[in-house]
Amino acid sequence: MPKQIPVPSGANKPFWDALNEHRLILQNCTNCDRLQYPVTQRCDQCGGDSFEWKEVTGRGHILEYFVIRDSRIRRLQGDQPLNLALITLDEDPGINFLSNLPGTPAGEVPVGAPVELIFEPIVPVENLDPACNPNQLIHEWRVIAG
């Protein structure tokens, strides 16, 4: 499925570079030891602006989902219906990620099920934006077969 291609910039570039090494790293506030995602300038808890990168396993659970049937995003319109799920991180359930749950048919999402992190290649285009890596990986999740 051709997701929109993320264009790394500024503070989020290390995050995208790490994905290309099959690692999921999140900002961790050095003041109050709290994970942050998406990449931010300020800690949502203490307002601090000093972070270190912390690698997480990416293991999580499906909190909720719905099914996109009429997307405004052109690149996704050929793949509808499409799951959009919210994944909570086991290491800190206050952190959540979006996922299309590849491999799970649209509308057949097992809410509450455990999921594992996978790395999905982008579908590149001609004359790719030079800020993008043609081999960029995107963080995705897959239901753990039980």
Binding site: P2, K3, Q4, I5, P6, V7, P8, S9, N12, W16, Y37, P38, V39, D44, L63, E64, Y65, F66, V67, I68, R69, D70, S71, R72, I73, R74, R75, L76, P81, L82, L84, L86, G94, I95, N96, F97, L98, S99, N100, G107, V111, V125, D129, C132, I138
Partner: protein
């Protein structure tokens, strides 16, 4: 001195105390433009500038004022005709600006209408209802004695938000963490995720639970003479129609969504002292409060929206001196029906507690009944003006709802009209936009200043 603007007008404190201008500010006029959909792509005869001028003229006539009485102008550029809708540049030379066309600045209105006595002017206020909180605070602080605030909403050629970045191969800026998976807007998508969580937690069906609410919204909208549906599609929908409507993002149906329109509403805010001599009975502003949930991660979750709405309600009660049992008219924002229950439960209107909204929706919501919920018909029932929730509060408190409250466009309409509630109508609470970030205002027929 820093002028009052979108960043400093709001009352956001957890324990704000009674609003220092409670009852010192009144709304004494409102006006509505015509309402319709989409330009034909060739003609500019339905610009938002023209509709703003019509709405302002009606609001001033409603209050019995002239242009020279006005010393404050306030509006918002958030007309939802952004660059994600239509391709840009949208107009060929000699047009070098969209001012007066897709947005309507104070400077444009001042020049076109000939206001001569303006001493406070701000074109960058937030969308409804922040714009109205800003207006109340500006008059309360004495920046203007008679202020006109108008809010245009647009609907131009093309499909909504299918241009701009959404039509490209790339996600940029903060959207790198959301758009690749298909996420577009919090009001639609985050609220839908929370709605799913809500239904699961309280054991409600995700399909059909909102049907009675949608049907009642249309019914109220059809009792609003100027509404899009009353004017252009004057028929009632049924629960079956709702259940047969297509999914946008399942379980969100197209009839859960407000219908984009071209329209403008204008409102006259003034001091309680000046209001005494105006044409209409004053509607006093008793408080305004704003809560913005900061958001921990990619998406807010149910507990965060519930917490934010509880907090907003507590700020409103403390700032107005009123409580849930005192609110007669209740018009929370309904741009997507999937989030409105958070406001209903947060403010505990008519005793509705967390997890009870869907049962409440199965009951009698009619304006003639004991629980005239969203008596405006909201965005869903009247079209996406975002302002019906406020104009209904004014009309209900005046006893004119659904009739000739605006006094100008529908001279044959009854007064009071068919939308007038039968229960007590001395206070009114309304607000927007989403449970994750909203401003609410309390109105009353009694200024509570003594």
């Amino acid at each position: 001195m820093v002028s009052l603007n979108r960043n400093n007008f709001a009352r956001t404190q957890d324990h704000p105390g009674v609003w220092e201008h409670r009852g010192e500010v009144a709304v004494t006029g409102w006006g509505q433009s015509p309402i319709d959909r989409r330009w034909d792509g060739e003609s500019f005869d339905k610009t938002m500038g023209a509709y703003a001028m019509i709405a302002i003229r009606h609001a001033l006539a409603d209050a019995g004022l002239t242009l020279d009485d006005v010393d404050g102008l306030l509006t918002s550029p958030e007309t939802r005709v952004g660059d994600t809708w239509a391709p840009r540049p949208y107009f060929d030379p000699p047009y070098d600006s969209e001012d007066g066309i897709t947005l309507v600045s104070c400077e444009w209105i001042q020049k076109q209408m000939g206001f001569k006595n303006i001493k406070y002017m701000e074109s960058n206020s937030p969308a409804m209802a922040g714009l109205m909180g800003h207006a109340a605070q500006a008059v309360g602080e004495g920046l203007a004695e008679v202020l006109v605030a108008w809010y245009p909403m647009g609907n131009i050629e093309g499909r909504y938000e299918q241009g701009g970045q959404n039509a490209t191969d790339y996600a940029r800026g903060n959207s790198v963490f959301t758009a690749p998976w298909g996420y577009q807007s919090g009001a639609q998508m985050n609220a839908l995720m929370v709605f799913q969580e809500y239904c699961r937690k309280y054991n409600y069906p995700v399909n059909g639970g909102l049907a009675p609410f949608a049907v009642n919204q249309r019914r109220n909208g059809l009792m609003t003479p100027w509404s899009f549906y009353a004017q252009h599609e004057p028929y009632q929908i049924t629960e079956e129609d709702y259940l047969n409507s297509r999914y946008v993002s399942e379980p969100l149906r197209v009839l859960d969504c407000d219908r984009p329109v071209i329209a403008c509403a204008a409102f006259v805010f003034t001091t309680a002292e000046r209001a005494r001599d105006m044409r209409q009975k004053p509607v006093y502003v008793l408080n305004h409060a704003t809560a913005r949930h900061p958001g921990r991660s990619t998406m807010d979750v149910l507990a965060e929206h519930q917490s934010s709405c509880r907090r907003l309600a507590n700020m409103m009660w403390e700032g107005s001196g009123l409580g849930p049992q005192d609110v007669d008219i209740f018009n929370p924002y309904d741009g997507y029906l999937t989030f409105t229950q958070q406001f209903l439960e947060g403010f505990q209107w008519h005793g509705v507690q967390e997890g009870e909204a869907m049962d409440f929706y199965k009951g009698d919501l009619r304006v003639e009944g004991p629980h005239p919920y969203l008596s405006s018909g909201g965005n869903n029932g009247t079209g996406r003006t975002r302002s019906a929730i406020m104009s209904d509060c004014i009309e209900q408190l005046r006893g004119q709802a659904g009739g000739m409250g605006d006094g100008v466009q529908h001279p044959g309409a009854p007064n009071p009209g068919p939308r007038q509630v039968q229960v007590r109508h001395e206070t009114a609470l309304f607000g927007a936009l989403t449970p994750g970030g909203a401003t609410f205002l309390m109105f009353g027929t009694d200024p509570m200043t003594s």
